[in-house]
Amino acid sequence: MKRRDLFRRSFLGAVGAALSWASGNAGNFLRAPSREFPSEYDASKLLRDENWKPKFFTEHQNRLFAHLSELIIPETDTPGAKSALVNRFVDHLLAAGLPETQKEVIESLSYIDGEAYLRFGKGFLDISEESQIEILNYLAYPHRLVTWQSNRSEFAGNMHFNRIKEWVARAYWTSEAGMRTLGWDGSPMHGPFTGCPHPENTHR
């Protein structure tokens, strides 16, 4: 069956008839428009504007976030976070976000900058890549006090790193480049689902 036939058989014609009395009835009945996405709708195009400027980040925050994003998800055999414009999307998302969310991200960016100042007397962007990686290695994993007791230490640095990483990851894995890195090929049709190829009772 063709999709077009399905649309024809669908209720649209019937509903149209059912509603027509209303549209002819003194115009009291404003039908709320449905929320449709035109087939070419693609909000990611806006991010590629050559005159793009951050709406939420300062210039410095934007550069720092973009740099961190590429350290977290670098270019390999597939594109990295920077060319996927992760910083631009996160800026767009935060500009529309709640004030608490905005505050958290700025705090965590500042924390990472602050760690660089503490260790090297310069901001994160101004230290060598080797030093940058050293800092991230320290922040990127959960910290736990290793003794014969099982005391746990809460380490703010890991929380701040994870917060930045989470925003980078969300933006990257939902970008076209990220989806293609996961194997997406642009087609929604990959059926049928064949499942386990093995004979019955062979998993004991």
């Binding site: 009395w21 009291n28 929320r35 350290l71 977290i72 998302l93 939902t174 689902f193 004991r204």
Partner: protein
Amino acid sequence: MPQDPHLVLYDAIVVGSGATGGWAAKCLAEAGLKVALLEAGRSISPQEFTEHMPAYRLDYRNLSPDIEKRRPVQKMCYACMEYNYDWFVDDIENPYSTPEDKPFTWQRLRILGGRTLVWGRQSYRLSDYDFKAASFDGYGEDWPLSYDELAPYYDRVERYVGISGRPEGHPALPDGQFLPPMAMTCGEKLLQERVRSRFGRTVTIGRTAVLTADHNGRPACHYCGPCERGCTTFSYFSSPFTTVNDALETGNCTLITDAIVRHVRMNSENRAEGVTYIHRNSHKTFEVNGRAVILCAQSMESTRILFNSATPTYPDGLANSSGLLGKYLMDHAVGAGASGELSDIPFRKSAAEPNRPNGIYVIRFRNIPGEKRHPRYIRGYGFQGGSSPQFNFEAQGFGAAYKKAVVDGYYRIHLTAFGESLPRLENYIELDPELKDAWGIPALRITMTHGDNEQAMMEDAAASAAEMLESAGAKNIVVNGQLAMPGMAIHEVGTARMGKDPKRSVLNPYNQTHDIPNLFVMDGACFVSSGCQNPTMTMMALTARACDHLIERFRTDEI
């Protein structure tokens, strides 16, 4: 031009166009009755469906902060997302209250088709273990009907809807009219075989209202995955494109959208004469008249309409001579289960693979009549779950190693319990004395908590999920034995239960109110007990059965 529906005397007014309203409209219109079908929301068009649209084309890649602002309650639903959130009610316009220490999340849609647009589609029958549960363990009341009485209607609904599944011959979960079952993964087969041999429990493929073969003019599923964003091939069951469409095609059914029913109007002879609705956009008030009024608005919404229809004869709510209207609210106990990793199964994960919109189901194995009873609780639970390769978005670290770890993924296995929610008098809804919705209609106050029985059941479910995963060789098993907030199952049933005794129930066994002969409630409000099975299939079968009864009464001129 078609006639103004406000000047017509309909045979039947159906309030609500979801799973049950669609069936009521279809059955009655096909029997030749003149039907007005009222929907509180707007119409829907297949052009709104976005199941094939990648997230990066959305304004906020499915992370829109707008959802939080107007739909903080709806957002708790897994299916409420940037793609479709305006199908869900606006929480600011549609408030309800709860006692401060008894939160309840009420997730709902107001749009043609209601929750059938986004439902989980799992479709199971109840058995006599459920219909006669009170006789077995002494708690609550039996249903006023048996499985045999409902079975022909399950057959009819399943044949029309198209349910894929596998017959198992298990008395706790009667088989139905199935299309071919969906396939299981290696991990699921492994679990199935181990659990059968170690525990004698049955793992089966989910029985789902998704077509695995062309059926009734709708093509089979193409396995794109995100059904909750709509289906442009109508391969899963949603009422607008099936039952409602059929009703409209008879020419006997008039659909009135944006009609928020405020109350049922009564005449002086103890009969409903129609409903009064408020137009969603204009806020103007309209009346629709009918010889029978059928509420299919959703369990709590139908009861809310009855409360808002109080008269001097029925001061505590229409059809409430029993005093039980609003009582015995139920919602399945959920939250417990376990997950883990199957590290011995080879796999390669890719986003370019078929995405099965279904999982597996573990049939209830606790407190089966004739078998050992659990010492801590009555009734039982089933598990939904699945096992398949997943991307490892939780991977630690950063850099190329992190990126590779995400892509490489892991083989996940998980089970999530759905437990029976006991009908308890202390779980109820009423009108909030002050709160009103955006149309000035008094809103509900919902008082519900899960009890000790549900908590004990969920703890046992967590333990039994862990032992089953372990038997399948799962590693890194994580369990949860805590109950989720009531409402999270989105299986709200009860508040106008059916029964033979008018003093102990609101509806008779045919969903007709005991008090008013031409007033019916044909949705989940009628449930006497919740079972542990997803309720929609049973609701639709009950509606079809009640409509047969109503049509017969029209024939014999009793309405």
